[in-house]
Amino acid sequence: MTTAESLAHLPALAAAAEPAQLLPAREQMAFTLGFHIILVPFGIALTTLMLIAHHRGLRKGDAEALLLARRWSKAAAVLFAVGAITGTVLSFELGILWPRLMRDYGSAFGFPFAIEGLFFFLEAIFVSLYIYGWGRMRPWAHFWTGVPVCLAGIGGTASVVAANAWMNQPGGITVEHGKVVAVRPAEVFFNGAFWLEFWHMFLAAYIVAGFVVAGVYAVGMLRGRRDRYHRVGFLTGFVTAACALPLQILVGDTIARQVFDDEPAKFASIELLPVTGSHVPETLGGALVDGKVRYGIKVPDMASLLAGFKPSTTIRGLEAVPADVRPDDAQANIVHWAFDVMVGTSFLMLAVVLWFGWLWWRRRSQLTAGRWFLRVASVCGLVAVVCLESGWVVTEVGRQPWIVVGHLLTRDAVATKGDLWPFFGAVLLIYLVVGAAALWVLRSMTRRWRQQGDEAVSVPYGPERFAGTSTGKAS
């Protein structure tokens, strides 16, 4: 099938009676969330990396670690600004694209965002203080202004994940005549999917941020800048991500079993399983065509083994899902492929981590000497982002056609008036420009660091004169 043909089939994704606004609304939500989610790891984990370096710098009088912390804080400031504004747009979109979700379930789905708002507020304030505090506050007092940034990032993630997990496994509400009449906040927030989803996202953040940071310094070393500064930068990022990765694979495996128990439709899509049965093979790749699994590599009994630890485990297929809310072939294929990409990239990264471990064990002093290792390490960041995005596709597309499982269909939640295409077009254009500009700004920041030293770069938080005076002193 050519791309044009497959695009022509896209509108048929959901059921036949599909509202006109559904496609643009879903595409826009997917695009803006997909954009925002890349920035999230930096808000959560880059700030932690920065504090790790800062702590080392202060404790051991390590000037290079201190310089790294300072520069990371400036990069984090730019990324935090972009994350903040794209997050704001998301909150408008919840209302503009999905008014019925907010009207009918805002009382339950909405309040975790109120808690998130609190954490975000705290983060914004202390980011300003921390960035501004370089050279202006006493060293340890300044270090401590960074700690709330880190903690608030974790709290904020937990809150947003709580809202998302609630859509997958809604709990804590009493519905009468389609109206939420009672809310039990603790059950809403700590719903069935919450804890595992939270740890999954939390670890993902450290993996993405760690590998991206390591990648930046790996490229620097490949270009011949093999000083201690680059080594410390690389190791701080890489080791953090390397510690998080095995944990992540364990958590992921546990989540898969939880999805098997609690979200059978999603699990059937993940395993590409049309018919209920035992001794289910694990299909790698492949596709559902007219309700039948075609192509792909089948590992006998593997899916049953992974889901229930014995080959006789019965897994419910797509046929077990009522016909009117059953994911169609295209959707199941997307979920299945996204899952395969997520798992595949995770094990790729694990292989790189093992390689690193072997290098560490063999010849600690020349750890980062090998060009091939650096080449591979430099793309790990990109691979981690791909992994993050595909994991997110699994959970979001896997939930369709529901927006709140069992309660509200996505096609019933969407806006009914106006035309969302122009809005989507404008958002697409602006985001691409903002994304490109952010990358350009970061690039020119690093270039200036190399050419003129640290103080020539100012960031969106500190006042201009801060940079000015420091330059005056330095020159």
Partner: protein, 337 residues
């Protein structure tokens, strides 16, 4: 219960107006500051004053949104399904504004700075206009309870236009007043006079438009006019008084208390709107009580608001004080090369 949450929500609205509003206003002055040479000094002061606080100021918007959609989901959905045009434009404006400002600070070449700066400044005017017109739509009862109201006339109407223009003007006035104080702190007599003149002009125009607006409201939103001239009359009079006091302070080049006076004037006008609207969320057809979430959710929101009071307010005070102190400690900083 619903009333309490509404009060907390409205405190957020007021905070956003007096803090976020000043940021928008600074963008307005940035826009009309002239070419790269002439506008250099005012723009530098704007960058200096905005840099440390703009992100925190705009977090108030998030606070308002989450309080609104969790506490009063019906009203939120009605607003977004009717006013999706101004809200969509405002959302895009916020992206462009934040990005433009952040990138301008992080880039050093003049052509780049000019592009980012223009984006920042233009969207700083567009966004408050849209928010003002949304307020006008709510106040004049143009948002039906079940949403999906007229997408065009709901925000392109006399009351919304008044709301939009007043929002832009009030932002400009606030910003000019704050920047006058900032110029005094930096001991820059030229900039002091520059922003003082602009604050006087913006304040005077805001006053004239407000008075003209009273007549407009009488024709277009009679209930709002009635409540403003009865229940909210003390607030309106106090606002006028603060406005006059602010102008007097500006004329005398007295900066002590200027920021508070300017902020109070705007806060009083906004509270006047809130008091006139009470006990309704939308026009006179959806009351706070009917729009409210179940009690448990409202309790969570009260908790969030109290936590904000305990944690956020001291942090904000700390932020503003550290910024002020550091500025006071370094009065004669050299120019940026």
């Amino acid at each position: 219960m619903a009333d309490l949450v509404a009060v907390f929500l409205f405190v957020g609205v007021i905070a956003y107006c007096v803090l976020g509003g000043a940021d928008f206003g600074a963008g307005f002055w940035d826009l009309i500051a002239g070419g790269a040479g002439r506008g250099r000094e005012p723009r530098r002061l704007i960058d200096d004053s905005l840099g440390p606080v703009w992100e925190a100021n705009h977090t108030w918007l998030i606070y308002c949104l989450v309080m609104l959609w969790s506490g009063f989901p019906t009203a939120f959905a009605a607003m977004t399904s009717t006013l999706y045009l101004p809200l969509g434009i405002a959302a895009l404006g916020i992206v462009l504004r934040g990005a433009g400002f952040a990138f301008r600070k992080a880039s050093i070449r003049t052509p780049e700075q000019r592009v980012y700066g223009a984006v920042f400044a233009l969207s700083s005017v567009l966004t408050p206009y849209c928010f003002g017109s949304v307020a006008g739509a709510l106040a004049s009862g143009r948002v039906p309870t079940h949403g999906n109201g007229n997408a065009v006339t709901s925000w392109l109407n006399p009351t919304s236009a008044l709301g939009g223009v007043l929002a832009v003007l009030a932002c400009a006035y606030l910003a000019a007043a704050y920047l006058t104080v900032a110029a005094r702190q930096q001991a820059d007599p030229h900039l002091l006079r520059y922003f003082r003149d602009r604050a006087v002009a913006a304040g005077a125009v805001t006053g004239v438009v407000s008075i003209a607006g009273v007549f407009l409201l009488r024709a277009d939103a009679p209930r709002l006019f009635h409540q403003l001239s009865h229940r909210a009359l003390p607030l309106a009079l106090l606002a006028a008084l603060c406005g006059l006091l602010g102008l007097a302070l500006l004329r005398a080049e007295r900066t002590r208390g200027l920021r508070a006076t300017a902020a109070a004037a705007v806060a009083l006008i906004v509270s006047g709107w809130g008091v006139s609207q009470y006990p309704y969320m939308l026009g006179t057809h959806l009351s706070l009580q009917d729009a409210a979430s179940p009690d448990a959710t409202l309790w969570v929101l009260v908790g969030v608001a109290c936590a904000a009071g305990v944690v956020i307010l001291p942090s904000l005070v700390l932020l503003f004080r550290v910024m002020d102190r550091a500025e006071a400690a370094e009065p004669a900083a050299p120019e940026t090369p």
